[in-house]
């Protein structure tokens, strides 16, 4: 299947002349421009190579037409967004991007005075370029990782940067909103989170479209760099409209005794594919990965996850819950990789799928690659339909069918909700589920 996506010449809207014109519009340090140029060459090379079949073969990309999307020069004036999170809490800082341009950014003075940097990538590049040079696509997601990351690095349109200095703990969450409003608009936003030693932070990010029917493209990247003893909670709530393509390469690196709690929610997009790596690099590093997916109509939502144990006494715990209805499809290919030196690893991965129709499809493939001999690694996947007897039981007690279905779906997700400590995220997901079930 992947051979059908091969195309040695770049799509017209991402051709060399378009790339040069794009560079001319940017106001960035020279090293960053060079990084883009190098990445574009890698992108051209990667176009002629087959996408990794292990990662892509289950995802049908035949209807993908990248030439139908372009990076807009101007954003749609006055577009409004029905966001899930923005007005639900008091955030200590917010960044909003529309059609690949930053339209607002703020951070409370208290955090600024502690040396916290939170804002738009282009602004931070110009104010703290040397700091970013060490981190931007050098440690977590590298431009040569695959075609998507090279494409992203070349055309990166901006994004959100969070830097928390050593020993600074942020007790209030930050919010980042990525929005698309114009038809055929492309967004190549990048999220870079850097926590120095013993820092802590919570970042909630969501993606949203202004309309239900305008096609869009997101080619994104997320880099989460958590230094020793630091603690990061990161949530990405993907809620594009069902005409949008969402392709992303994401990676978290966790150092000694640090912890990362990473929650991804896949609600929107026509086709979404996320390559998500968690690298446990230091002794005692921990990562918890939570996934919530609800796909309907013809949505295709795909995850390719890796929990890499690169040091001893590291712990990873991944739980994905996927609900499907109509003709939707969800794919999860997960791998726990344990290096020879990563003794005393404790790795866990599990993906459960609840199928609400006979025409939806779920492919869940857990995997283990273990090179150490003193570890505990467990994995599993389940898929099943709603038990009609449960519905009957509820209805026999006066609960309408739709409410019974809602209770069953909520109960199914509860196992992952219980792991998300940020209450507004739990509430938001619960509301989104009601909306998806069509009972609000």
């Amino acid at each position: 299947m992947t051979s059908t996506t091969l195309n040695v010449t770049p799509p017209a809207s991402f051709a060399e002349d378009v790339f040069d014109a794009f560079l001319a519009t940017r106001n960035e340090p020279a090293w960053f421009t060079q990084l883009r140029r190098d990445a574009y060459q890698i992108y051209l090379e990667k176009l002629s190579e087959e996408l990794d079949p292990e990662e892509w073969k289950r995802l049908d990309m035949r209807t993908f037409r990248p030439e139908n999307f372009e990076i807009k020069v101007q954003t749609e004036a006055g577009a409004s967004f029905d966001t899930l999170l923005q007005d639900r809490a008091e955030f200590a800082g917010q960044v909003t991007h529309v059609d690949a341009r930053t339209v607002s950014e703020n951070l409370i003075e208290e955090y600024k005075s502690k040396g916290v940097i939170f804002g738009d990538l282009e602004t931070v590049l110009n104010s703290h370029g040397e700091l970013l040079k060490d981190y931007f696509m050098t440690r977590a997601v590298k431009p040569d990782a695959d075609r998507i990351s090279a494409w992203h690095a070349a055309f990166c349109t901006g994004g959100t940067v969070l830097f928390v200095p050593r020993n600074v703990e942020l007790d209030r969450p930050l919010h980042s909103l990525i929005a698309l409003s114009g038809a055929g608009a492309a967004d190549f936003s990048h999220t870079l989170v850097i926590l120095e030693e013993n820092a802590s932070a919570t970042l909630l990010e969501e993606t949203v479209s202004s309309t239900e029917d305008q096609p869009g493209l997101h080619v994104g990247s997320v880099e989460l760099l958590v230094a020793a003893n630091a603690r990061l909670r990161y949530v990405q709530l993907q809620n594009w409209n069902q005409k949008t393509w969402h392709l992303a390469h994401q990676c978290g690196r966790v150092a000694q005794s640090a912890s990362l709690q990473w929650t991804v929610a896949g609600l929107g997009a026509s086709t979404a594919h996320i390559h998500q790596d968690v690298m446990l690099d230091g002794k005692g590093a921990e990562a918890q990965v939570n996934g919530v997916t609800f796909a309907d109509r013809r949505q295709k939502i795909s995850y390719y996850t890796k929990q890499a144990h690169n040091a001893e006494s590291t712990r990873s715990d991944l739980l994905y819950k996927q609900v499907l209805r109509d003709k939707s499809k969800a794919i999860w290919r997960g791998m726990i990789r344990v290096e020879p030196e990563a003794q005393q690893t404790d790795g866990y991965q599990r993906c459960d799928a609840l199928l609400l129709s006979s025409t939806c499809r779920n492919d869940s493939i857990p995997g283990l690659e273990i090179e150490a001999d003193d570890v505990r690694c467990t994995h599993g996947a389940t898929a099943g339909q709603v038990d009609e007897e449960q519905i009957f039981y509820a209805m026999s007690r006066g609960i309408p069918r739709f409410e019974a279905m809602h209770m069953i779906v909520e109960g199914f997700f509860q196992g992952v909700y219980d792991r998300i400590p940020v209450e507004i995220v739990r509430e938001t997901l619960s509301q989104a589920v009601i909306h998806k079930l069509g009972i609000d």
């Binding site: 289950r58 049908d60 035949r62 209807t63 026509s270 013809r298 499809k329 492919d363």
Partner: protein, 103 residues
């Protein structure tokens, strides 16, 4: 021609018997067999991957990977490992243009 989408020309089939097209964001395989056109969703109901290159015989297409066989007229799954039918499309031809609509 309400509900139909124009996807190809009859003349496209000079010297070939199949063409991959897109109908409402769904990949569809349009097949010509002895002056008759058939259209099926180009996804095997067993493994979810394309049927495009599968051999066709007696109005049946065989999945090139695991051998599942489907009836081109009804979409019915005719042998294991497929158990579910694949969607088919109604084909209309007008002035040399081929139009499709999901059945």
């Amino acid at each position: 021609m309400e509900g139909y989408e124009q996807v190809a020309l009859v003349s496209d089939f000079e010297g070939m018997e199949r063409k991959e097209v897109i109908v409402d964001d769904v990949p569809v395989l349009l097949i010509k067999q002895e002056d008759h056109f058939y259209a099926i969703e180009d996804v095997c109901s067993h493994d979810g991957q394309p049927l495009s290159d599968g051999p066709i015989e007696n109005c049946q297409i065989t999945c090139p990977r695991h051998g599942a066989r489907f009836d081109l007229t009804t979409g019915e799954a005719l042998c294991m490992p497929a158990t579910e039918a694949i969607p088919t499309y109604d084909v209309k031809i007008e002035n040399g243009r081929i139009w499709l609509r999901e059945n």
